[in-house]
């Protein structure tokens, strides 16, 4: 902190203390949350709508005043002083308490919504769900659900802490634009538009109306109930279905080719949005060990296969049970999948074998072989359940283990302990697909600026995805990693201007040979070869 007043304190300076205004701001924010907590415990507020408004305004005002006080009167620059000294950001007791609180919230949210006050029997909501009823009626014309409460709080978190993030990185326009983008997509696409569409179509059964929430992140997109509801959802339903499929097969591959997976993960995605804004204070906690990297590769690809298998299974069941609803028969579907997987992996293997690690190649090939064989086995044996598993229970297990436990409870609940991108790094099947493309078919890379790296380690420390950025930069190599979400913080915290996120021609993108580090040896050769 910059205090020009003479410092007369004889106490430790180890932790920079908050000043009065910062303390009041934090108190105000907590007050807002406290009102919600009171609602949770069924304190009867005389007029809910006023108290809800007060509560949300208190939270926003608290966050905004805190951010202004902290960042506005300082020169623009990197603001990481004391990050590893502070209890809250260095896995201290406050961090654990926050983690436990968040985790419990998610457990209740997913599995015990009645404790939040949801009345599943159809009567009036109580507790915090009931507290949000007035807002829910305004937004979508119905009583609130736990998901409405969650969605609102999620949006408040991204907007409020997004503002803080913008001030913190006010020297960096990339961060500014990117953060405005995630705030916009959360507020508009994930919150306002779906709620309003819900209000305009009250009679239709539910289907996801968040355009940007694409399969396989939205794992229930191809589930039978969801497909049915879209088919029966009139023009809007058909639009959502077609747009959803187009996102997967057309829009996303094109954008990922030109910009890398960052277009989604750190510009659009809601999970990414929360991680970048609310989770920013914990980005340095991600593990950078090679062991973690190994676990990451196994885990994220296993989840991808799991989501793939689950989707094939539920689609197969859907096609078996509702032949009248679909354009294709289940036979065509199976053969389509087999042909797609065969072509896809052959192309990958033939053209990109060299760019893949050996373990990745083997994993991929054996998994695809297993999937194809079991698909065919099942198809010819005439079973209803593909892959020998009941698609219903598979779907339920996926929803429980991946959709809820991993992405929510662990993914967000453990922010203060494991860092802010645990889900994105280890679990998100969407990130896995985009990452695969980013590694193999994309123009995106992080360019290392010749020999300017001083191995300081800021880039690696602040990489939320646990990439050891320095290990590439100090060798003068570009960074082309499937997990990189392109948040651009490595480039921001670099004290020597070494890293730059770029989209450029794919040739020479991965330069793993000796590079320009300063010695005059065959420098020109290298540069010519890298072109």
């Amino acid at each position: 902190m910059n205090k020009s007043a003479k410092n007369i304190s004889i106490a430790s300076h180890e932790n920079m203390q908050m000043d009065g205004i910062q303390k009041i701001s934090v108190a105000l924010g907590i007050l807002g949350l406290f009102i919600m907590a009171l609602a949770l415990f069924n304190v009867a507020f005389p007029s809910k709508e006023i108290w809800l408004t007060i509560s949300i305004i208190a939270i926003f005002t608290g966050v905004i005043t805190y951010a202004n006080r902290t960042y506005l009167h300082q020169p623009a620059g990197i603001k990481n002083n004391g990050v590893w000294h502070k209890n809250f950001t260095n896995r201290g007791s406050w961090a654990w308490m926050t983690g436990i609180l968040l985790t419990s919230f998610y457990v209740v949210l997913y599995w015990y919504p009645q404790y939040l006050g949801l009345n599943e029997a159809g009567g009036n909501n109580t507790g915090i769900v009931g507290f949000f009823d007035p807002l829910s009626f305004v937004m979508n014309g119905k009583a609130a659900t736990q998901w409405f409460v969650y969605g609102t709080l999620y949006t408040v978190a991204i907007l409020g802490l997004g503002y803080k993030f913008i001030l913190k990185y006010k020297n960096n326009k990339y961060q500014l634009v990117r953060t405005i983008s995630v705030m916009f997509f959360q507020l508009g696409f994930a919150f306002l538009i779906p709620e309003i569409l819900e209000k305009l179509n009250p009679e239709k059964a539910y289907f996801a109306k968040d355009l940007k929430n694409m399969w396989p992140l939205n794992y229930y997109f191809f589930n039978d109930w969801h497909l049915k509801n879209m088919f029966e959802g009139g023009n809007l339903g058909m639009f959502m279905l077609i747009f959803g499929v187009a996102m997967i097969f057309i829009i996303s591959p094109i954008l990922t080719y030109f910009y890398g997976k960052r277009w989604y993960c750190s510009w659009v995605c809601g999970c990414g949005g929360l991680a970048e804004t609310a989770g920013d204070s914990f980005r340095h906690l991600s593990s950078k060990s090679t062991i973690s990297w190994k676990i990451e590769r196994w885990m994220i690809h296993s989840v991808l296969v799991f989501s793939f298998v689950m989707t094939i299974a539920v689609l197969f069941t859907f096609l078996s049970n509702n032949p009248e609803m679909s354009f294709i028969t289940k036979g065509q579907f199976i053969w389509g999948i087999v042909i797609f997987l065969t072509i896809f992996t052959s192309v990958l293997y033939i053209f990109k074998r060299k760019d893949l690690d050996t373990d990745a190649t083997y994993t991929m090939l054996s998994l695809v072989a297993i999937i194809i064989i079991s698909l065919l086995l099942n198809y010819f044996s005439g079973q209803q359940n593909i892959l020998f598993i009941d698609s219903n229970s598979l779907r339920e297990w996926y929803g429980f283990a991946i959709g809820a436990a991993f992405s929510g409870v662990v993914g967000v609940g453990f922010y203060p302990i494991l860092g802010n991108r645990v889900w994105c790094r280890f679990g998100c099947p969407m990130a896995a697909i985009l990452g695969l493309q980013q590694r193999l078919f994309s123009r995106f890379r992080i360019t290392t600026n010749g020999g300017q790296c001083i191995s300081c380690g800021n880039c690696s420390t602040y990489c939320e995805m646990g990439i050891d950025v320095r290990s590439y930069a100090q060798k003068g190599e570009n960074i082309v990693r499937s997990s990189c979400v392109g948040c651009g913080i490595c480039s921001a915290v670099c004290p020597r201007g070494v890293l730059k996120l770029e989209n450029d021609s794919p040739s020479g993108r991965i330069n793993s040979n000796e590079i320009l580090l300063g010695n005059n040896i065959d420098l020109l050769d290298l540069i010519t070869n890298n072109k």
Binding site: N2, K3, S4, K6, N7, I8, S9, I10, S12, H13, E14, M16, P75, G77, I78, N80, N81, G82, V83, W84, H85, K86, N172, K173, Y174, L176, V177, T290, T447, N449, G450, G451, Q452, I454, S455, C456, G457, N458, S460, T461, S471, Q474, G488, S491, A492, V493, P495, R496, G497, K500, L501, E502, L516, L517, G518, N519, N520, I521, L523, I527
Partner: protein
């Protein structure tokens, strides 16, 4: 098997070891008295500021060295005995070598100031300096830093991050005035003040004052002023760490004298990094270069020689970088604080006062000579090519887009720069 012993596990010694290991199976031992594992010295400041933990400054995981069969030996070398090809540690242990590489780095300069050995007085170079600072910072209200260069401003930033008041004594009339031309140096002066650092230009240290217990309690300046403080940072440059080599028969000057193959006067003994002194200066470079990058380059070159491919140390075009509080600085080629005879300089400063570039070129044929850039990142590869191909300043001005390395979406100042350049120096439009 040949035994290569390297004294010092800084960037020079470690780069050497890694590059030897890539191509050779020789036994490699690195002896160090500082820290068991290699760490980035330039990152020490970030540990103090709480940006990183010490372990984050270590670029390789702890088992990396064993995996690569590089032996790490903890110990202080007190003597080198070339006649018996051995080094002696303070524990009396002897290590014999076939080839010995001195990569011992630097020590902070002290000029015999009264009180320079008091408690609370430190340089900023070694890990132990950081540990001392850590200890003293707890009870410090004010620190005085002596020496207006790169380390001084880093130390000032560190102490400010802990909310300790800082008085910064700079002997020259302006910050880093020996290297930075007037305009950018003024800009940095302003930025130092903006960070609430009490900058005292044209002021020298006379004496460090002591309390009864031998702790620093203040300093006396040449202006006769006494400034109370609990910490005194001595950051007036560094010198080669070669004291233990006196009487070893190895020829010493300011540093260990080496030729272009980095060989000392004694066969099979080499020196690299901060502690080496070139017998013949290379280009405009100083004979002793205490820079991260040159240490790394020397390590790379010597590795080639030691695996049997004799290679001269042949540093390419000069480059360097630093960060002055929030302002990043990069330089490519040579820009002198006082323009030399053939040199013309073009200076542009953004009206925010935190971005500037200075381009130096040859008056006669407009060959580009060098650039200082502040708050704008530039591409190393681009300028290296320009310097090697001896392109003109006009080419650089016309290709600023290619030169720029700022993050995406950053505001470009190329048009302004170009306009001012052509206003000042009528264009030849050679492009």
């Amino acid at each position: 098997m040949e035994h290569i012993v390297i004294i010092g596990n800084g960037i020079a010694g470690v780069t050497l070891a890694l590059h030897i290991r890539k191509k050779s199976e020789s036994k490699i031992t690195i002896v160090s008295n500082e820290n068991e594992f290699f760490f980035s010295r330039t990152a020490l400041m970030y540990v103090f500021m709480g940006h990183m933990k010490f372990k984050h400054t270590q670029p390789y995981e702890n088992d990396f060295w064993k995996k690569n069969k590089i032996d790490l030996k903890q110990g202080l070398v007190i003597k080198v005995v070339p006649s018996s090809k051995e080094i002696i540690l303070s524990s009396d242990e002897k290590i014999t070598y076939d080839k010995l590489v001195l990569a011992t780095g630097s020590i902070p300069n002290k000029y015999g100031w009264p009180g320079e050995k008091l408690n609370g007085v430190t340089g900023l170079y070694h890990k132990k300096d950081l540990e001392s600072l850590e200890k003293w910072a707890k009870n410090a209200n004010r620190a005085v830093i002596i020496g207006g260069g790169l380390i001084g401003i880093e130390l000032a930033e560190m102490l400010r991050a802990r909310d300790i008041q800082v008085t910064f004594l700079v002997r020259e009339k302006t910050f880093w005035g020996g290297v930075l031309p007037f305009g950018e140096s003024q800009m940095i002066n302003r930025h130092i003040l903006e960070h609430n650092i009490d900058l005292r230009l044209d002021t020298s240290l006379v004496e460090i004052l002591s309390d009864e217990e031998g702790n620093a309690k203040g300093i006396l300046t040449d202006k006769g002023e006494i400034i109370d403080c609990e910490i005194v940072g001595l950051t007036a440059g560094v010198s080669p760490n070669i004291d233990f080599l006196h009487n070893s028969g190895i020829e010493l000057g300011k540093g260990v004298k080496v030729n272009r193959f980095l060989e000392t006067n004694i066969k099979n003994i080499y020196a690299i990094g901060d502690c080496a002194e070139q017998r013949d200066a290379i280009g405009h470079r100083t004979a002793v270069e205490a820079v991260w990058y040159t240490g790394r380059m020397m390590g790379e070159s010597l590795a080639q020689t030691l695996i049997g491919m004799p290679t001269k140390y042949n540093p390419g075009n000069w480059f360097n970088s630093a960060k002055f509080l929030d302002i990043e600085y990069q330089t490519y080629g040579w820009v002198w604080a006082k323009p030399r005879l053939n040199e013309e300089q073009f200076y542009w400063e953004h009206n925010c006062g935190k971005k500037a570039i200075r381009i130096s070129f040859d008056k006669n044929n407009r060959t580009f000579l060098g650039i200082n850039t502040f708050g704008i990142r530039m591409r190393h590869e681009f300028f290296d090519m320009i310097l090697t191909k001896k392109q003109t300043v006009d080419y650089v001005i016309e290709n600023l887009v290619k030169a720029n390395f700022d993050p995406e979406l950053f505001t470009s100042h190329n048009k302004e720069i170009k306009k001012q350049f052509y206003n000042q120096f009528d264009s030849l439009k050679t492009v």
